[in-house]
Amino acid sequence: MLRFGARLIAQLSAGQVVCLTGDLGAGKTTLVRGMIQSLLGPIDVPSPTYTLVQTYEGPEFELWHCDVYRLEKPEDGYELGLIEAFEDALCLIEWPDKIEPLIPEDALHINIAFEGEGRKLTMTGFKGIT
């Protein structure tokens, strides 16, 4: 999962939105950790569950790691500054269904499902990724 994260982030840049879905414990945060640490080195990547958003200064753009599970209504996303971040930063969003109306159409969706002892990743959407 960490290695896949490292490969994935090499394909991404500012203004892109990645939505991560999957059950509790499927590995969403682990995937994000792989992405952030491959970009910024072995820094702390704490769970954003309680803080909602953790931001990171990348070499070329800001990276937002969001867990919007605790948001009550999509409009709260405005208050968090997500709309601006969707344009300027690379946003990695856990539990995106909580703010579904705000998610850009061209977002990349990654679903992580348990399969035996492993995980199955399904990626949909997003133009221009190779």
Binding site: L24, G25, T29, T51, L52, T55, L80, G81
Partner: protein
């Protein structure tokens, strides 16, 4: 330090208003510090919200900074009134400026800035974790150095606390906090919020060896924690179980036992690292403080007691009102910085991430929130 902060001089006797709004509590406190360094908490107001949050199976965060701001005003007012002082008597304002929920932190910090400016007194930006680090002193005498285990919903850390501003992080979670593991496990099993007390209660009639669960990082050289894998294992075990009351009790008891074992193992490792960090003899008597909401769990507490006895540590467990989120600890940390003349400029930023062991980072955020954060 900015020039604007230099115009203030330190008074020997000081009244400090502390403001805490970094996560699910909004709180304010007034503390009086004497010339000899002794202090007295004159008031400590906390607007607890757990009951309000329960119907949602979790904490619904107040996102809007302005809503925080409104609540804050009333709570600050009560703290000042309860302390029987006037705003004009205050010597400085200390406010949490991270790490934490950014909307709350910004609101608290903005409120603090506004007050400091209008009263023309210094502002002190306090690291929330530093508040926890000094919080044992609120409960009474607790001289430096000590080993601190902070276990709450948002944090899990083992710190060597050698003095004010002198901390070494011996270990911390690489993913979820301990309290988060309790909350999410409770959620998976539909036990409700807050997860800690619910899991503990359900576990009471369960068999702690019934379900095989991992002990992440057990036996490792470092003193870090990981709870994401344990949470996943609980979710999978629950799916595979018959979901009866007894199965739930067994799973809760097994989960709680796994957490106890992890704390035992990781703290044991940290105790050795702590003695090394302060250059103490291998078996020398030392102090161990456990703080944070998760420390309320009786199983965890008794397991840590046994560990302390075996390792020649004296266990200090401050009453919960001091070791869960509160503003008195922020006022205390602020008062200590005040005495040293550590004031902050009005452009100090709120920071969602702010590791405690990086004193240089206090005024020079290397990886802070940056200038483009929301509402800054």
């Amino acid at each position: 330090m900015a020039l604007t902060a230099l115009k203030y001089t330190v008074q020997e006797k000081a009244l400090i208003l502390g403001i805490e709004s970094s996560c699910d509590e909004t709180a304010a406190s007034v503390l009086r510090r004497q010339a000899d360094g002794s202090f007295e908490i004159l008031s400590s107001i906390i607007a607890s919200q757990d009951e309000k949050h329960a119907p949602f199976g979790g904490v619904v965060p107040e996102i809007a900074a302005r809503a925080h701001m409104q609540k804050l005003d009333a709570i600050i007012d009560r703290a000042v009134t309860d302390a029987a002082v006037e705003y004009d008597d205050l010597s400085a304002i200390a406010a949490t400026s991270g790490p934490g929920l950014i909307g709350g932190v910004i609101a608290g910090l903005m409120g603090a800035k506004g007050l400091a400016m209008s009263l023309d007194i210094p502002l002190i930006a306090v690291n929330h974790l530093e508040g926890h680090a000094v919080s044992p002193k609120l409960a009474g005498e607790c001289p430096f150095p000590y080993l601190l285990l902070l276990i709450s919903g948002g944090h899990t850390q083992l710190l060597s606390v050698k003095g004010l501003g002198d901390y070494t992080r011996l270990g911390s979670t690489v993913d979820d906090a301990a309290g988060e593991a309790f909350d999410k496990s409770a959620k998976v099993m539909g036990l409700g919020f807050p997860g800690g007390p619910r899991v503990e209660k359900t576990a009471a009639s369960g068999d702690p060896s019934a379900v095989k669960l991992p002990r992440p990082f057990k036996g490792k050289d470092h003193a870090d924690f990981s709870f994401a894998g344990l949470k996943t294992a609980v979710a999978r075990a629950y799916e595979a179980s018959d979901k009866s009351d007894q199965a739930n009790a067994d799973l809760c008891a097994s989960f709680q036992q796994a957490v106890c074992d992890v704390f035992d193992d990781r703290t044991r490792r940290a105790m050795a690292l702590f003695r090394k960090d302060i250059s103490a003899e291998i078996d020398s008597p030392q102090r161990f403080v456990v703080a944070g909401g998760v420390a309320a769990n009786k199983k965890i507490r008794s397991s840590l007691e046994a560990l302390c006895n075996a390792q020649n540590f004296t266990l200090l467990a401050p009453p919960l009102k001091f070791c869960t989120d509160n503003a008195a600890m922020i006022a205390l940390a602020g008062a200590e910085h005040y005495a040293l003349g550590n004031f902050d400029a009005m452009d100090v930023k709120a920071r969602p991430r702010w590791p405690l062991d990086g004193e240089s980072a206090r005024h020079n955020p290397a990886s802070g929130f940056g200038k483009k954060g929301p509402k800054s």
